[in-house]
Amino acid sequence: MSATVSGFIHPTLGFYALALVLPFLSGKAWRWLLLIPPVIAIWSVMTIEPGLYGQGHYLGQTLLFGRVDKLSLIFAQVFAVMSLIGMVYALHVEDRLQHIMACVYVGGAFGCTFAGDFITLFIFWELMSIGSTFLVWLARNPISTKAGFRYFLYHTIGGLFLLIGLLLRYKAVGNFNFDAVAPTHMMTYDWMIMLGFCVNAAVVPLHAWLPDAYPEGTVTGSVFMCAFTTKTAVYVLMRGFAGVEALAIAGTVMCVYGVLYACIENNARRILSQVGYMVAGIGIGTAMTLNGATAHAYAHILYKGLLFMGTGCILYAAGTTKLDKLGGLVHRMPWVMVMYMVAALSISGMPLFNGFISKTMTITGAAEHHRTWLAIGMEIAAVGTFLSVGIKLPYFAFWAKPANDKMELKPIPWNMYAGMAMGAFLCIAQGLYPDMLYRYLPFEMEEMYHPWTVWHVLQALLLLGFSGLAFYITRDIITPHAKTNLDFDFFYRLIGRGALALVSKPLAWIDDRWTEAYRAAGLRGLLTLARGTVWFDTKGIDTVVDGSAYTVQNVGVIGARLQTGRLQDYLGLAAVLGLGIFALVWYLA
């Protein structure tokens, strides 16, 4: 196969191989296989030399599966590490389909990261979309089914923007190469592609799918989802659209918007991401902010994964993550609280934790580039993050209310603790030894950024300490309520309902008329014809055809089984078929 001849084991291979093998294994030992693709992936990204690997041909185009450089490597590295943590956390899950879909999804993320052209990118982009949709559906409850459909619809629209953009671009420039655009000379097709990326990065106002879908995913699936979809989008934005001013502003708006909503949110799994910092860093586009965005993506994957593992433990044990129903649980899940706090302090940028060494880099970069307003927006978001995710959430989940001994809690399996411990270890280690992360940063800076100066530490402590005081003063106001807060998805639904009405009402009218006309005129003729054929059938055909009829019936049974009428099944089948064809072409090319 072309992907391996030059010595590069593409991490996607391991995940897709596992996805293919898993359905055919029996017994219990198969679960240990889950750890093999992540380990191979880690080994592969740590040892490979930068270069171009694995070219293939498909539809008359040259595809590049392995563009390995510092930028793709650092993202692939954190994806690999996170996939191992996520798999450890999911070891106890019996439902194999969840693991298969996690593999399809994670493999897709690696595919996007190493893709050197738009076709390869698009294929893996859509595979990610399918895999993640299933991770929502496989929570197997009516709410997640609906959320999954919305998620899929939304990402299909995003994918179509990307597709339209890349086809228009092909018509204009004659190739599918995926390279950086000149920010001052962006064409319509560049904007379309960027819009497609922005859907996945959850850039405001295209973001509302994220708080809609993530809380409804499976306990273990959401851990993967929070790490890969937005961060793959961050990677492709950085690769293609560094220095685009619109992103700098949108990113900052996103930071602030996210924390404002977090302030009034009741569901602990509905935490908007910190992707705004990364998008802003990409938009500002200096070496320091780009490195800051990369470092923040790395740190974010680790602590956001840890946050979702912590809230996942609460969901697993207590059956809910609604803050108004929780509280007083600290003595019953002390270690979950500790792990959660590591993540919460990391996301807040507290010294000793990895958010401190990554977030401050982007903000300092923005300030040094004289983008003062953007930097101040990001500082406000830092205040809000600490208030909501750092204090409000753990306070109301674990502390508020007297000790709760009545709530029934399911015991948490050891592997969930192990996954969290790995994440927590890395969050702290990177906070203490920033070089662990900085040495992999892709862009050359004039002078290295040093987070551990007395001033930076004091500034962070002042900012966070006094945000804490603000919480202390307003702790009776900020108490979460069982409410749905309207967001932009209100408008998405409005658009959806409008489109549905437009299609269904006129079409339904035509259908009604047609049925009536048919009943009046068509039916009588058909009956006469039927009488004739019945005679022909009983006299002539029965004896001859019965044999072949049985065959047809048997084929029909299989066909009928496949046609369940459920979009989930069709989607899965289409993905399997598509993958099969793609694998064949890849192999033969």
């Binding site: 040094e368 205040v383 809000g384 900012l463 006094f466 309520h481």
Partner: protein
């Protein structure tokens, strides 16, 4: 209940003491800020000691009060709003 859990639970009785320690810590930070300043101001105002303290406190208070008291009453609906309307 594990030993660690009991220990954490016991902290509840010391809430008052912890709050006082927290306030003392904050005061200490502001005093330190009088002596430790940034080499060059990244923003115009952060040369003044206590700027980030005020920023964190006022920013946090404003955010909570505006969002919870003004914005949430306008945009919040029942917990099952979308389930009933779809």
């Amino acid at each position: 209940m594990s030993l660690f859990g009991m220990l954490l639970n016991a902290l509840r009785r010391w809430t008052g003491t912890i709050a006082i320690l927290f306030f003392l810590g904050l005061a200490g930070l502001v005093v330190a800020n009088v002596f430790i300043r940034p080499h060059e101001a990244e923003y115009v105002f952060d040369v003044y000691p206590g700027f980030w303290a005020v920023f964190g406190l006022v920013g946090g208070l404003a955010m909570v009060i505006i969002m919870k008291k003004i914005v949430q009453p306008m945009i919040s609906r029942g917990d099952d709003y979308y389930e009933r309307n779809s």
